[in-house]
């Protein structure tokens, strides 16, 4: 038998939350439970992004409330059973869904706009119609999300979905080489504006992350393999396993984009807007490219073999211009 409200002993305080937050949660949870005719603490926690303890605390607050004189029949009728089942009787004051907050509507607009650019969702009439209603409700286009539309995104996405092997020509700017390889895409994800696939790579016999816009050409081999259920994860840009060199550098404020664009560590911002950073170096070519782009706004202090990498890279590029000029003469 389920013990009515005996769950109370399980409440564990995780730190103070404001009265407003607790009331807001209760006002969101109650109509949701009433609409469904019941739910569980676990399901509520998962749906509303709360911990089970927070759900219990918020429901606990609500169930001791009601109308004067606060007798048995005057209270909000919510029951939480020991097995986590939640029941709530429809209440005149609490069964209606509140309007979404501005924070929630913003989040919803972003989700919808972004999803509309995903393969498989681009032509989804239901989503297009929801977005049109959102725009109408908000009075115009106040959020505009545009993501990279990599040429081969759809092909790679479909391959991940169906377990297809692909032959690709892949450009690796960090090593300045293009390679032919056969890959089996497992997951596809976007991060910081670019699309990537984590794929089984026949060339290295390892799982590798490929930036999809760097795929120069692709061919569907027709060979399929078993689909492995896995979750798309953000990339680990540079394998920071202690085997790669770490550069220490001073960045002027004008090169703040380096901090924003690359996974720097031990970052210290100075009063004048400049930075002291450490960064893992994937390849000397990559570092030379970065140093050249930053120009005089980066000063590498160690290790010694990379101190003059900007000069050396500039000389390499300069030699191309000089050769061309001599040919013209």
């Amino acid at each position: 038998m389920r013990g009515r409200n005996s769950w109370r002993r399980h409440i564990r305080k995780r730190g103070p939350r404001s009265a407003k937050v607790r009331v807001q949660n209760a006002l969101h949870i109650m109509p949701w439970v009433m609409e469904r005719g019941g739910s569980t603490v676990e399901e509520i926690a998962q749906q509303f992004g709360l911990t089970k303890e927070e759900v219990l605390e918020d429901l606990s607050t609500a169930m001791v409330c009601g109308v004067p004189p606060y007798g048995g029949g005057d209270m909000i009728d919510i029951v939480v059973f020991e097995d986590g089942t939640v029941e709530a009787s429809p209440s005149q004051s609490f069964y209606r869904t509140l309007e979404l907050t501005h924070v929630e509507i913003f989040g919803l607009s972003v989700l919808a706009d972004a999803a509309a650019q995903l393969p498989g969702m681009r032509r989804d009439k239901r989503l297009a119609s929801a977005i049109a209603k959102l725009r109408d409700f908000l009075g115009g286009d106040v959020v505009d999300v545009e993501t990279e539309q990599a040429t081969y995104l759809d092909v790679v996405w479909e391959a991940a979905e169906k377990g297809q092997k692909l032959e690709i020509e892949y450009l690796s700017p960090s090593k300045d080489v293009a390679t032919q390889r056969t890959i089996t895409p497992r997951t596809v994800f976007s991060d910081a504006g670019h699309w990537y696939t984590v794929a089984d790579d026949d060339l290295s016999n390892e799982s590798r992350t490929f930036r999809i816009d760097r795929i120069q050409d692709v061919r569907v081999t027709g060979e399929t393999v078993e689909i492995i259920a896995t979750t798309a994860l953000a990339p680990l840009w540079f394998p920071d396993d202690g085997t790669l060199p770490v550069v220490r550098a001073h960045l002027k404020a004008a090169a703040a984009w380096v901090v924003e664009s690359y996974p720097c560590r031990d970052v210290t911002e100075n009063d004048d807007g400049s930075f002291e950073i450490s960064i893992v170096v994937n390849s000397p070519h990559w570092l030379g490219r970065l140093a050249l782009r930053a120009g005089s706004n980066i000063v590498i202090s160690k290790p010694v073999e990379f101190i003059d990498i900007a000069q050396r890279t500039a000389q390499t590029v300069l030699s191309r211009y000089l050769v061309a000029s001599e040919s013209a003469d």
Partner: protein, 318 residues
Amino acid sequence: MMANSKQRDPAERMLNLLALLGNNAQPQTLEQIMDQMGAEYGASDEGRRTSFERDKASLRDMGVPISKIVLSGDAAGKTAYFLDKKGYGKLASRLTTDEIKALQEAATMVQIDTEWGRRAVVRLGGVIDDHVGFGTMHLGAGSLALPELWRATNECRVVSMRYNAKDRTVHPYGLLSRDGYWYLGAYDLSRQEEVVFRVDRIQGDVRIGSTAQAFVRRADYKLADAMPVDAKLFDGASEQAIVRIDKVLAVTVAREVGNSGVITKHPNGDIDVQVSCVNRVAFRAWLFAMVDRAEVISPPNIRQEVIGWLNEVAAGNR
């Protein structure tokens, strides 16, 4: 016991107030409310009034549609409060089950670093299924400035903020997400022009003006067009350079500049492309990202400028 023993918890007091308003068919004056809940609001009239106003404001801020009317008859001139049923869930009532289902699917495939969007979907009646998926879009939208700017935009309210070490006052026109960054399209009152600001470079809090200062957005303003597609064009005019690209990078660059940007295809696979170089910082970043796989061919002044930059770096002029 119950409410009286819990009277000092503002959360319970707010829920009691809401229950009271919801359970009464007639609007309730402050006196009527205090007759029933006085013990919860304390002893002094002033303290009661202050606490009531605070609770009312908090509930309204959460979206509870507490409205007021001025009574006539015996209670003429008195203000009374009620829950306006028309103020509940207007958006939810407009969306069909299929549309909510599509938003539900969107919420499982897009991550925005916060629960805001997912929670909205749940509150609209959707169910989030955290299935293992092979495809995910990550779009960082965790900055608290974003929903504030969004609200200011939506309500046409003036925004004051500090940006690049200067105080700015702007009319916000909309938020754009491009290449992993958020931008605010706005009219800058001090510069008297439309400007695009990068949101993560706003220093400190954004301050939002009152609705009394509401502005009118230019009728033909198109948010999607607010930001130049090509960063090299940021400063507006159209100075062009012709750049030779090695065959190794030809496919990628041709894709980037489009067919119209490729002006010559060489037999060895190299291509010549025409690109804007108005914004020299962006142009330099783009050009040097290709290291010695790209070379400015013309015009001569831009080529000389690039050689000058390279000489400067090669000489270690810092």
